[in-house]
């Protein structure tokens, strides 16, 4: 069954994730469409932790690299930041913005691999408006610590908890969506220090989660996973909502 998969953020985690998603779609569900969104560009400063072969908009560079190897998957680059609203009448240009409602729709599998909670919250909140959707996110902190989250909705019901139910950072994000910043403000954002291995590990966990939950259709008992590469530990957290029992609703 061809699928629509959307990766929002093709940086430290997303650039590695795409390398795994493309063959998964190519050989399991030929004819699928993979959208890559990122309004940012690959620069020399990213080389230590990101995976790219040329400079330019991340979405375009990665899509061109993958399309050559995976011809049965339609890979569509969208060099835009995802925001809630765009100003009417403004022509969309590379490095510009696109609304989350235009990007995330019914039946999608979405990865919010951006480096800020504000944009992640935007994607999760959009998903809550839909009946059937899977949204994954993942990132790292403290060098070797990483975590992932899977939010699933089926038939208009949260199968797993919306992350805002336990995570304050999705209720009141402590940061700002780069898509809402001016070019000057965006240029001043710190690049952050990241470890390549942790980025790759987050991408690997996300790939495993989507394969198990969406492709193999298994119930996700580990919707949230935390790991620490320095300690060699990983911990699943069950975020499933309890199913409604018959007659529970009056």
């Amino acid at each position: 069954m061809p699928r629509k998969v959307v990766v929002i953020g093709v940086g430290g985690v997303g650039s590695h994730l795409c390398r795994g998603l493309a063959p998964l779609l190519e050989y399991q569900d030929p004819g699928s469409v993979l959208f890559l969104l990122d309004g940012d560009s690959f620069e020399d400063g990213n080389r230590e932790r990101q995976d790219f072969t040329s400079y330019g908009f991340k979405a375009q560079v990665r899509a061109a690299e993958l399309q050559a190897s995976f011809p049965q998957t339609v890979i569509i680059p969208q060099p835009y930041f995802v925001v809630e609203k765009v100003e009417e009448g403004v022509e969309r240009t590379e490095g510009g913005t696109v609304t989350v409602a235009d990007v995330v729709s019914e039946g999608d599998i979405v990865f919010a691999t951006v480096d800020n909670h504000a944009a992640r919250a935007l994607v999760f909140n959009r998903a809550r408006e839909l009946d059937n959707v899977d949204v994954f996110t993942g990132g790292n902190d403290e060098a070797w610590f990483g975590s992932t989250y899977h939010y699933r909705r089926r038939n208009g019901v949260d199968v797993t908890e919306h992350p805002a139910e336990r995570h304050a950072e999705f209720v009141d994000p402590p940061d700002r969506n780069p898509g809402d910043l001016s070019c000057e403000e965006r240029a001043k954002l710190p690049g952050g220090s990241q470890v390549l291995a942790t980025n790759m590990a987050v991408a690997a966990v996300l790939l495993a989660r989507v394969q198990q939950a969406c492709f193999d259709d298994e119930e996700d008992e580990a919707a949230e996973i935390c790991f620490d590469l320095a300690l060699g530990r990983a911990m699943p957290h069950d975020r499933r909502n309890e199913p409604l029992t018959q007659g529970a609703m009056t």
Binding site: S147, L231, M235
Partner: protein, 81 residues
């Protein structure tokens, strides 16, 4: 106290605490959430502003843990990437 009595008494105090990559079942019953947090903050690297949950409900730092409780100090999602 006999070994059996001690084991029974100890078992009746068992509760579970977790945060991030850590999880532990121990004699937490009778302790407050704040006491468990303080005892594990350093080794588990529990953020000071993390909220404690029992199931899906937020619990106060003064809540006294009961046998069988499962308390989680929710660690924020990693954001870099």
């Amino acid at each position: 106290m006999s070994d059996a009595a001690f084991a029974s008494s100890s078992q009746s105090k068992m509760a579970r605490a977790k945060s991030g990559v850590w999880e532990e079942e121990n004699n937490f019953a009778g302790m407050t959430v704040a006491e468990v947090r303080a005892s594990r903050t350093k080794t588990w690297r529990i953020p000071a502003d993390s909220v404690a949950y029992k199931g899906k409900a937020v619990v106060d730092e003064s809540y006294i843990i009961e046998p069988g409780d499962k308390i989680e100090f929710v660690k924020g999602q990693g954001v870099k990437g």
